[in-house]
């Protein structure tokens, strides 16, 4: 039972290698309660299991966090998987296989592909009933170490436009929204400036196994002046009313125009060993021609 693995799996960008090690559409399976025994591998061919790995630092796999309920760095939210005391799990419905489905989830890559503005249902499950008043939080973080300190926000174009902003509860700068029945609350952390959405955790409808939450993303991953093709992770956490984390799941998200196409390309690339880790420059030139100066300066002005 090694902790912290997920940090590198869908996490903080270890020497980029795609590890197809999932077990269907679920992050965190049923029998795991607190300490998180390994989830049973349901996938036809589990590649290497965490126990194969030689070092906790480098091993990869869908796993627990060393930092249980609280993040290590104030500024960098934990992306560690954590089932927590109530056995928090997350999975996706069988997604459309169409090339231009509005969303699709690759369990092979642990990556969600979703069109901008469209809702994508995620399914939550708890093994034990949590106290009343628990909350679900969704927060995006940049995946790559180089960008992880930067807050993920909408691009100026989208933030300043009227569409989807006028008359909406969600502040225009938030990338992630939660739609659906329960009223969503949009938060901004005072210190870090990180933005997130909260909804009340509601137990599954009678007859249903999961609670469904409808996510939507308000920028493309490629949005210039915003995510700018840099991959992000989405952290979904179960929290108490006071903000204590009772569970955490995490997956990569790519918001794009053609989820099916791009997923297919990623998976092929991954199989051929050629990671396609977001087209954001590897080298360190000045920046793309149309955004000449180094992006950092422009996007994160000194506060």
């Amino acid at each position: 039972m090694s902790a912290g693995l997920l940090v590198s799996c869908a996490g903080m960008e270890t020497p980029s290698r795609i590890v197809p090690n999932s077990q269907g559409n679920c992050l965190g399976s049923t029998n795991a309660l607190h300490g998180n025994q390994l989830p049973p591998m349901i996938a036809p061919t589990p590649l290497h299991t965490p126990s194969d790995s030689t070092s906790a630092e480098e091993s990869e796999g869908p796993m627990m966090s060393p930092t249980m309920g609280f993040s290590m760095t104030p500024c960098i939210p934990s992306t560690a998987e954590y089932a927590g005391p109530y056995g928090f799990q997350l999975c996706f419905q069988q997604s459309s296989t169409a090339k231009s489905a509005t969303w699709t989830y690759s369990s092979e890559l642990r990556k969600l592909y979703c069109q901008i503005f469209k809702t994508c249902p995620i399914q939550l499950k708890l093994v034990l009933s949590p106290p009343v008043g628990c909350l679900i939080r969704a927060m995006p973080v940049y995946k790559k170490a180089e960008h992880v300190t930067e807050v993920v926000k909408r691009c100026p174009n989208h933030e300043l436009g009227r569409d989807f902003n006028e008359g909406q509860v969600a502040p225009p700068s938030h990338l992630v929204r939660i739609e659906g029945s329960s009223v969503a609350r949009y938060m901004r952390d005072g210190e870090s400036g990180r933005q997130s959405v909260l909804v009340l955790y509601e137990p599954p409808q009678v007859g249903s196994e999961h609670t469904t939450v409808l996510l939507s993303f308000m920028c493309n991953s490629s949005c210039v002046g915003g995510m700018n093709r840099r991959p992000i992770l989405l952290i979904i956490s179960l929290e108490t009313h006071e903000g204590q984390v009772l569970g955490r799941r995490c997956f990569e998200a790519r918001v794009c125009a053609c989820p099916g196409r791009d997923r297919r390309a990623d998976e092929e690339g991954a199989r051929r060993g050629r990671g396609r880790e977001g087209a954001f420059r590897k080298t360190c030139r000045a920046g793309p021609l149309s955004m000449q100066v180094s992006r950092r300066r422009r996007l994160a002005p000194p506060p």
Copy 2:
């Protein structure tokens, strides 16, 4: 049976859910007089309010708050239910259940279905007698947040036709008219451009419990270039001669060719959980083929 429920039911579009919580044909029952106790929150368990929170997070975004006598934004009229000092109530006669009735009211959905051009009687009741010279105002508003800032008017086709326009008191652009004895005055707010009708409040006829007002709608909810299938709310308010609001009731209205059919369809849909919230596009993707725009207006709103 609390009068305030309507705030959440037919109110300003909290994340779309229909709450079938009405109590017959009446909006605002007798025991509520002034204050209108705050409506119970829709969510099963109330979210924590900002003041509860222990973290540095500040919640962002426009919070919904019930407004009493005055609207929060000058441009967006309040749709909050308000009994007011005289116990203002509104209800509908037992409506014809026939599929071909010219109007019908679903108390389950708090929604009026009415044919274009036909009159529909609404019944008003006051617990206490108001001062002489009070007025009744009817004003339509779009129900959905995305459209709520737009003034509800007739479509060009109907506005420019001769029928029902020639020789009429009502200006051709007004959607809602009041027919019957008392002379109606058609108003247009200088700032917002909102249109409404006013009639003198007259106490019930002797032997009658209610004052009846005859409404008529001059466009279908589906009229292209006008409401265009977007649901509206009708705000009925009791006002002093000077415009102070002494009471307010509000219900959804759908103007259509087959009130009976459509009500039935709505109610079935609601029961099956499949809201039928007006067929107006959700995704904002295209525009209807027959009503296109040059992208210009989209991309560069006039300064």
Copy 3:
């Protein structure tokens, strides 16, 4: 080789056809002085003009007429070629044919291809010496009739960024800048809101035939929220200090990342008869997914 050809070539979009009728890199050759003979009609055989017709028919619609020194509509700047009293001409240096050149000019298509932020030299020539204090003005206009009324500006992303904006004379919203020796003045027409740049006309250096002006474009033609792939024309005019137009030249401009590639593609396309007239939607059907609008603006333009 008549100077007037450009009127139909790069002019205000007569029903789209590209007429490859240019004559090298120059717009307006020497023999044309004042009057600019009327451009020959594009159609092989001229249609009959209304005065010919024997029937009672009147032709309807805006007829295109060449305007001399003054624009017909205040809001739509004239794009008519006009040599004027001093024989105003414009041409381009022999442009690099390299695929990676920062700019290139296709005399076949009368179209400049230029990278964003890079300077592109244009050469001006006058047959007679103009009075002292004459000005050169550069103003962009959308080429297509559907967009011609819209002011050409930078996209929000570029306008709001810091790069190329901080500490610059040019206002961030201006698309076109003039670099180089003479101080440029950035103007905004009060009524129309049109933006343009002015520099003093300086006679050619001794030994040189032309006056060179360095243009630069601060957005790509493809910039979302700005030009958005809509082709533009650039109007270069010679004016008196008081604003009277003494000459006018006009060419299409495309600001893009790969001028060489795109020019080549255009020219091939043109030869094969398949105009490649800017990828902006023809049908006006939808809007791009990532730049949606609430229908409101479509249906009810602000009064």
Copy 4:
């Protein structure tokens, strides 16, 4: 050789019966020069030929006009087929069979189905070369006798909208436009008020057999306040510069959202003998509910 037959075929509404008597996609075949011998029947089962018919008035079939070059009534344009001295013919490309193709032509029904705003190519052919400067005219007429005197125009909604109107050469009230290379002229007959489009006739491109003209329709056949579901015919004529008719072809046109679907329905209906001749009321009530008063009064105000 009976003349005038076509008047009833695609023409003036004889007791409505659909006669599937066409011969592929062409109206008027090659060997017909002036007097119009009967076109060879290519259709598998020609029903009755004109010679079957007992009276010229009632007989049906694709045929010549008694009024050769000039219309009988000033107000009702002739819809008679007329090959004329140059053997004027019209046909359609093989149209898409898709259910929602943007246009499709049923030679069985001699009827074009076309989406609003989309261009539809029609192919013209002349056996002999006409004099230089000949024109092609397209003019719509109502098909049914009851409406034939009414001028076919756009509906108020579309005429007054901005889309497709702003900055266009075509006047907003014209239903039919011609797109493409040659400049179109939009005419309005002084007496009748009839609207039509003219383009120069251009001989086929080298290697091509036909001249292609791109038509587009700016209203749906169903547009309320406009065609209002009343079927129309489109008259295509070849004319001299002075307006003398040198040839005429005519077909029914239906502008609708789903050409494929509707064609299929029509053809099935026709086979089952149940004409589907436009859903405009047969009976003579007041008008549809939403357009209460008789349309005539509203649409054609006394001039």
